[in-house]
Symmetry: C3
Subunit: 132 residues, 3 copies
């Protein structure tokens, strides 16, 4: 199990952590499946070159899913509680990446990101399954 | 194949049904992949504690994707026909969950939900694959 | 690796290409995972009957994620650069489909689509993993 500490809302790259699990598994080919064990954080595969793409992505989603939206009744944990669940539902809880030549078969510009949706940071648990 | 009857639009928990498939498979470790065989229902992993989170989630998506939106031309099955396809496209048709200790490796607050997007209920077919 | 040429923004069916990979693998049961190696194209399983459903889907997403939105700072490749990333993040980079009777276990009305999010066409690379 991976434990990743997030500094707050936004995308945090975890490609290397997933690659390490694949390397340790010894798999040459197969499928790596990343799974996040939370409902207010999620996964996304996005551009790994220009950080502005990740900032824009988070800004766009923040405008679509408004903190403190009066529609929400589930607000026990604050104005970003329910928006975090919506943001997670719109993105991915699990992602499967084929393994090619003992490495993740990502495209040249792809990175795997953990997307923290709460405003404050947290420690997030992820499972990485490597299958044949 | 699982056959789940939905009472109408909204989230219906299917964690136990998926757990049963995993238990019957005898797998101790591996990957369970749930797949919904429809384009107007989908899957989401969400909070299993407070039902208000699921109601808010469905209400938010219903406001984003309006039934009867005049943009839509594909309206043969009614005002919720095309919105159901959009809602399914924005969420997940398949979800992979690692198996840990012969059980789904879900977080403490996670449940697997079948999300019915049509207003009326239906019988939905799902496949659950258990792999090593 | 599949290489698919897209004619521009919109959905392009790739069900047959994926079925071919499954057939060549000889798998009777298992899991096929499709993965797109780009961050401005994605995957969706949608209705394969009426083309108007795909057009409406693309039109709806185009209205939600506006080309040239002044919110975006990552605009090096033009007004559809950042919208393409957002559209990909809201849909799927990987999809897992159980194999049943040596074929994809899709529902009667389901097809697998490559969703091009850039306005101009491109050659897109996809990986298809077939596991037991």
């Amino acid at each position: 199990m991976l434990r990743i500490e997030t500094p707050g809302r936004g995308l945090l790259e975890i490609t290397r952590e997933v690659e390490d699990v694949v390397a340790k598994s010894g798999a040459i080919a197969g499928l790596a499946t990343v799974f996040v064990r939370h409902t207010s954080a999620s996964l996304v595969i996005q551009e790994n070159a220009d950080p502005s793409a990740r900032r824009d992505l988070d800004a766009w989603l923040g405008r679509l899913v408004r903190d403190g939206d009066p529609l929400f009744t589930h607000t026990l944990e604050g104005p970003d509680d329910m928006p975090s669940h919506v943001r997670a539902a719109l993105t991915a809880t699990s992602v499967g990446v084929p393994i090619v030549g003992a490495r993740l078969g990502l495209g040249a510009w792809q990175g795997i990101y953990l997307w923290e949706h709460r405003r404050h940071g947290s420690v997030r648990e992820l499972l990485v399954h490597v299958g044949a």
